[in-house]
Amino acid sequence: MKQLLAILVDGSVYASWLFIISAGLTLIYGVMRILNMSHGSFYALGAYSGAAMVGWYFSTGSVPWFSFVVLISSALVAGVTVGLLVERGLLRFMYGRDEVVMILVTYAVLLIMEDAIKLIWGVEPYFAYQPYTLLGRTQFMGLSFANYDFMLIGVSILIGLALWYGLNRTQNGKLLRVVIHDREIAGALGINVSKIFTITFLIGAGIGALAGALTAPGLSVVPGMGIEVIVLAFAVVVIGGLGSISGALVGALIVGMARATAVHLYPQVELFVIYAVMGLVLAFRPQGLFAVANARKI
């Protein structure tokens, strides 16, 4: 019973973390048809800028609670600024190229940003544990949980709701869905597709950076963290069906629960189980759980 609870809680925490990371990835793919490898570096960027700013903030000795605002806003600013740079400065010249070419372009961006991060913040790890400990822990059925992790679940639900509301209930979201449905007709109808692309990329990059910032207090921020995360996000997004937000949610839940079960019962297969689940899902649903089937091109 105790173990089941631990698995459930760990699984949901991990799932919400995965969802925050993959939401931006799947949104960008859904709208722009770009599988954005550099999403991992936006995640790392958010983690670094968040951790560095929080460290600086606590060294000034101000009100501790305000550190959450510092953490999130610095990551968002960094993510959106660099996102704008990448999209306007590079990606917009590449639109219309093959999807696989776009993977390579964003792979190049990933390589460049990895080293840029090292140049700015050095190779020493950063710790921003203060917000994590600030929230304290909860005892429940003899198990101890960090409240910060529960906050993570809350934030992921918020992001999911915001994305759902934005896409389904607002004017701009509906325009976005028109662009997703048929880019050329949308352009012909006078929708500014290029502007929508820019905004989508900024939202995606922002969410990626936010994910990094929210992760930073829970662990040490080290070089290479973005590269580690990106394949995990791919697995989640592919399980749910590329480009589907609800798919990312379900994918995150499946992967999160599978991993938590593995960690508690068979710790040797931790990494293996994630991709095994992915293989299993794709063997039966080749396009993922929530993807719309595409006709073969003649």
Binding site: L35, L90, F93, M94, E99, V100, V101, I103, L104, V105, Y107, A108, V109, L110, L111, I112, E114, D115, A116, K118, L119, V123, I227, V231, F234, A235, V238, L242, Q268, V269, E270, L271, F272, I274, Y275, A276, M278, G279, L282, A283, P286, Q287, R296, K297, I298
Partner: protein
């Protein structure tokens, strides 16, 4: 292939070999590594000609390397020929199984899914204490038909084997590309349905290509393991596969020599970038990749083609 060009290739092969042996040790080491990687990329190029970009060739590269390591360390088999045979058969067996699933996918899904399989292997190796988990383990020196050259000359032996493999497999790959099923690969890229109307089996073509690519990657892994004397799970990590795609893109897919030349250039570029800027070598590679995509979409080999076209125009 005419007798004359075969003779020319043999001379070129011998020249490469003597050139490689005369190089200082660290350079011939890099050269051998480049040959190994070039073979992996050759397989990748075969797939790319059918429009399939695999982000998971690291899987077979790593399988080849680990089979090599395990044979030399745990079974005390050091004969290069036996090792090659074993590593190719293991990875072909794996590819024949995975390929059944993977060859149903195209484009981005093929890329991502192949990547996932190599990450499965990575995940397994990282957790495996017997195989040294993240550190990997050492590979013993190879021998050839009972001749054990010892630690000094072992790298020369591997170099010779690698050059031989590159030339012989390169010729075979060239022959394959000129064959009917080689050309059918391009038809898969252009239009699958028309190919099926004409009576070709798209699945079979892709499947065979996938298996060939796996075999080549395993050979590349064996060469790398033997020359570096060490294997670790990093070989199956997705960045290794990304490197192979990088090299393939750098060379282009127009000719079998392109991936080999690109692999040599890549090793040189990376070593140089690492020596000049140890903290920003990835950044240099990133900019190089962007420059290739922007200015030379069909790779460095397009320069050769441009030169050939110019010559052809002059003579007519």
């Amino acid at each position: 292939m005419s007798k004359r060009s075969l003779a020319l290739l043999c001379i070129l092969g011998l020249a490469t070999l003597t050139g490689g042996l005369l190089l200082p040790n660290w350079m011939s080491y890099l050269f051998t590594i480049a040959m190994g990687k070039g073979l992996v990329v050759l397989g990748l190029v075969l797939l790319m000609r059918a429009g399939l970009v695999s982000f998971g060739q690291g899987l077979y590269y790593c399988v080849g390397a680990y089979v090599t390591g395990m044979l030399t360390q745990f079974a005390e088999v050091t004969d290069v020929l036996l090792i090659l045979l074993a590593s190719v058969s293991v990875s072909v067996a794996i590819a024949a199984t995975i390929g059944l699933l993977l060859c149903r996918y195209r484009e981005i899904f093929f890329a991502m899914f192949s990547m996932a399989f190599s990450m499965i292997l990575y995940g397994l190796l990282v957790r495996n204490q017997v195989l040294g988990s993240t550190d990997g383990f050492n590979v013993a020196n190879p021998s050839l038909l009972g001749w054990a050259p010892g630690p000094e000359a072992a790298s020369d032996l591997v170099l010779a084997v690698a050059v031989f493999l590159v030339f012989s497999l390169g010729i075979l790959a060239w022959r394959y590309l000129k064959s009917l099923s080689g050309y059918a690969g391009e038809a898969v890229r252009e239009n699958e349905i028309r190919l099926e109307y004409l009576g070709g089996s798209v699945f079979k073509i892709v499947y065979v290509k996938y298996i060939i690519a796996a075999g080549l990657a395993a050979i590349g892994g064996t060469v790398t393991a033997l020359v570096s004397g060490h294997v670790d799970p990093e070989m199956a990590y997705w960045t290794t596969s990304g490197e192979f795609v990088f090299i393939a893109l750098m060379g282009g897919t127009a000719h079998v020599a392109a991936p080999i030349i690109a692999a040599v250039l890549f090793e040189a570029l990376r070593t140089y970038a690492f020596a000049v800027a140890p903290y920003t070598w990835q950044m240099i590679l990133g900019f190089a990749l962007l420059a290739i995509i922007l200015f030379m979409p069909s790779g460095l080999w397009s320069l050769v083609e441009r030169f050939q076209n110019k010559k052809a125009r002059k003579t007519t």
